[in-house]
Amino acid sequence: MHHDWLAVAWFVGIALFWTGYFFLEGFDFGVGILLPVVGRDEAGRRVVVNTIGPFWDANEVWLIVAGGATFAAFPEWYATMFSGFYLPLFLILGALIMRGVAFEFRGKGADAGWRRLWDRSIFFGSLVPAVLWGVAWGNILRGVPIDAHHDFTGSLLDLLNPYALWAGLTTGLLFTLHGAVFLTLRTDGDVLQRARAVARRLAWPAALAVIGFLVWTYVNAERAAYLGLVPPLVPVAAMGAAIAVTWLVHERLEGWAFVGTALAIVLLIATIFLNLYPRVMVSSLGAANSLTIDNAASGHYTLRLMAIVAAIFTPLVLAYQGWTYWVFRTRVTSGRLAAQPPAPPPAPPPAPASHPAAQPSAPPAAQPSAPPAAQPASRPSAAGPATPGQ
């Protein structure tokens, strides 16, 4: 079979959709995980939930699009991955269900027990996918038992290997840190202080997890004598970004820290895809069984059709999603809206100094959408706490 350049373009496209998903939903997973830590009281928890209120649902659509695009462009990949990662996906779906309804339900009940229930489901509903997506991608790259018919023949235990679990730890920590930094940009007062403290405490563990994962990935690839397309620049830049964040959160350069965690996520995903290329899912039963861009892709007609649709609609989506972040750029406070000072003119974070060439495009919506960059000092919390509940 000849190498269809459109299939390669779609490999990049799928990478971008997953990148968009992890960059965006990454912080709202993090916010969900930090809900019990950062939101100490009901007013605080309400602020925390509302920082992602207008965004989480649209962020989750990136997953639906990543899944749908994989189905359309690489049916074999979609079929093998989704039937192979059966139980983890079930847990992820269950978690996403609990989390999604919790956002809608939590404010609609009167008593504290009701809220506690939904706060818990936001916490677990965020933690479980944040970790399991890492486990899943670790396994895609490491290789799982796939037979000659492209069917997954392993069991759940095959998926729980140390490398994949480390990948899960990495995404769990990195998304939590990403969420903490997001909170420092979107909140005020006590919640802001606690988010800062968490970000400072998490920065090093997250950086070490990222470094460990990337080194391990390199060692695995070396051992398999398969380095893919992985040029050292990308993983090294990912490590650099993760380390830079540890310093940035200390200096309270939170706009930059957000750029840092975003870059770390983007470059981490880029490393995985560059290392995969030209495979899309590695078989541990021999290279011949691996799914590749060639043997998993759809026909040329479908790829071209989808390329046209994606080329028209993705920029449009980025534009209106970016605009949403602009509309809701002011910090969420627990005081009344009237008590809030007018929104400061937001300074979008300057473009990152070095833009690695291997990175196919800017992180989706990063530039237009990032909340106002590090505001000089922490404003004291606006007056009284909100009356919780409706």
Binding site: F55, E104, F105, M306, G335
Partner: protein
């Protein structure tokens, strides 16, 4: 149960469950857009309060629709990997487009609508709810394009090298004659669902003389919408039956439990006893089936036995007959509920014209439980059309038995079936309870809060 049966139950439960929420999202979203437009045009505060009250109910429903939709998309790969491999090339694009073109629009602008009331100009805020409504309708178009292809595959060829379907003409997929009728049938049914929802809740409050002006106006708008939509559903349904007779004759015959080919076939209204041809008691309307299916008094409608013989000759040995009692009663339940909706909305319109709606207490009492009618019709309709396609997953192309994931264990499918069903059940109960509580409380509670300035508009959750 076998893995296949478990997977089918899971698909059926997830789909029917998902489709409890989707029609209300589409239908109520459309009505909210109308309410808010009325508020914008007239400046009458009652429309604003109407929008915000029904908007709250809309949001409770929306969340469950979204999250079950993810399961809906993922389960093709999880339980039906052979199907996904075989059709991904054709079936994947509408799904991907649904996300890219519709879900992004819907979710992003819904976020703007919920949280943006104080941050957007009134006109822009009004535009957001219309965009949400358009997004939801667009998503229906895409997913129905995928489903219609399963009913009547077009615009593809089988790749000789892989033995799998390859898309050759997407325009043919979008102009599939099944899609054209199914789309309108589904959208109108969804709009009728939203309308009966508003009518039911309004009737409840009118009975209690609560917020009479608001609910009289809401019921008025919804009644017109309900009448037009349910009449439209029936009209399109008739066209759909004709397309079905041509393309899926077996489904039409199974809907009627018609075993032998007949000319001038009568329509069976009701059967007591078995459906295998020797009923104990039946009510039949002469010639009606022929008219419905072919638009002619003495049109020929093929029976199950003949079609079975033809399909056996064409596709090889095996049964090509769906489960007759499911299709027969599914069809009757759908049509029956649909006609009840037409009847109620016409009577409602008549009473409104006579300005007697609020005083017709007995009728209002009927309208409250009538809220369930569209749900019954929607579920029965999907069960009928999907079960009526069996044993095919793609009509004439792939059988359901060969579509299932080959290496997913029975224990795994059992575990997820139990898990999802339990989760769905609990959440449905909570959802219903919340809807009932908020629906019953009425608009005044939240309004007072808002006016006292206590509820921070930016803190919606």
């Amino acid at each position: 149960m076998t893995r296949l049966e478990l997977a089918r139950w899971q698909f059926g439960i997830t789909t029917v469950y998902h489709f409890l929420f989707v029609p209300l999202t589409i239908g109520l979203g459309f009505l909210l857009a109308i309410f808010q437009t009325a508020a914008h045009r007239t400046g009458n505060d009652v429309y604003r309060r109407m929008t915000s009250f029904f908007g709250k109910l809309f949001l409770i429903n929306f969340g469950l629709g979204v999250v079950t939709g993810i399961v809906q998309e993922f389960q093709f790969g999880m339980n039906w990997s052979q199907y996904s491999r075989y059709v991904g090339d054709v079936f994947g694009p509408p799904l991907a487009m649904e996300g890219l073109m519709a879900f992004f629009l819907e979710s992003t602008f819904l976020g703007l609508w919920i949280f943006g009331r104080e941050r957007l100009s009134p006109r822009l805020h009004l535009a957001t709810i219309w965009i949400v409504s358009i997004g939801s309708i667009l998503s229906a178009l895409m997913i129905l394009a995928a489903n219609s292809w399963m009913q009547h595959p077009v615009g593809f060829r089988i790749n000789p090298a892989t033995g799998r379907a390859t898309l050759t003409n997407f325009w043919a997929v979008l102009t599939n004659q099944i899609l054209i009728v199914t789309f309108w049938h589904t959208i109108l049914a969804a709009i009728a669902t939203g309308a009966f929802f508003v009518i039911g809740i309004s009737a409840f409050h009118l009975l209690r003389h609560n917020e009479v002006e608001l609910f009289r106006k809401a019921a008025g708008i919804a009644m017109v919408v309900a009448f037009v939509a349910s009449l439209g559903v029936a009209f399109v349904g008739h066209m759909q039956a004709q397309v079905m007779t041509k393309i899926q004759p077996m489904k039409m015959a199974a809907a009627e439990a018609l075993y032998d080919t007949e000319t001038g076939a009568s329509f069976s209204l009701l059967t007591i006893g078995n459906l295998s041809g020797q009923p104990i008691f039946q009510i039949r309307l002469p010639h009606l089936l022929s008219v419905l299916a072919t638009n002619s008094w003495n049109g020929k409608v093929e029976g199950i036995n003949d079609i079975q013989a033809q399909e056996r000759a064409q596709f090889g040995p095996g049964s090509y007959t769906p489960v007759i009692w499911v299709t027969y009663w599914g069809f009757r339940t759908m049509v029956g509920a649909g006609f009840a909706m037409i009847g109620l909305s016409s009577l409602g319109l008549y009473l409104m014209r006579r300005r007697r709606l609020e005083r017709s207490r007995r009728f209002l009492w009927v309208l409250v439980p009538a809220l369930a009618l569209p749900y019954i019709a929607n579920s029965a309709g999907w069960i009928f059309t999907e079960m009526g396609r069996q044993p095919w997953v793609i009509y004439g192309l792939m059988k359901t038995t060969t579509a299932v994931s080959p290496t997913v264990g029975t224990a795994d499918v059992t575990a997820t079936l139990l898990g999802f069903t339990l989760l769905y059940g609990v959440l449905a109960a909570i959802d219903f309870w919340l809807m009932a509580r908020i629906g019953r409380a009425g608009p005044s509670a939240q309004d007072d809060e808002h006016e006292a300035g206590q509820a921070e508009p930016a803190l919606v959750y």
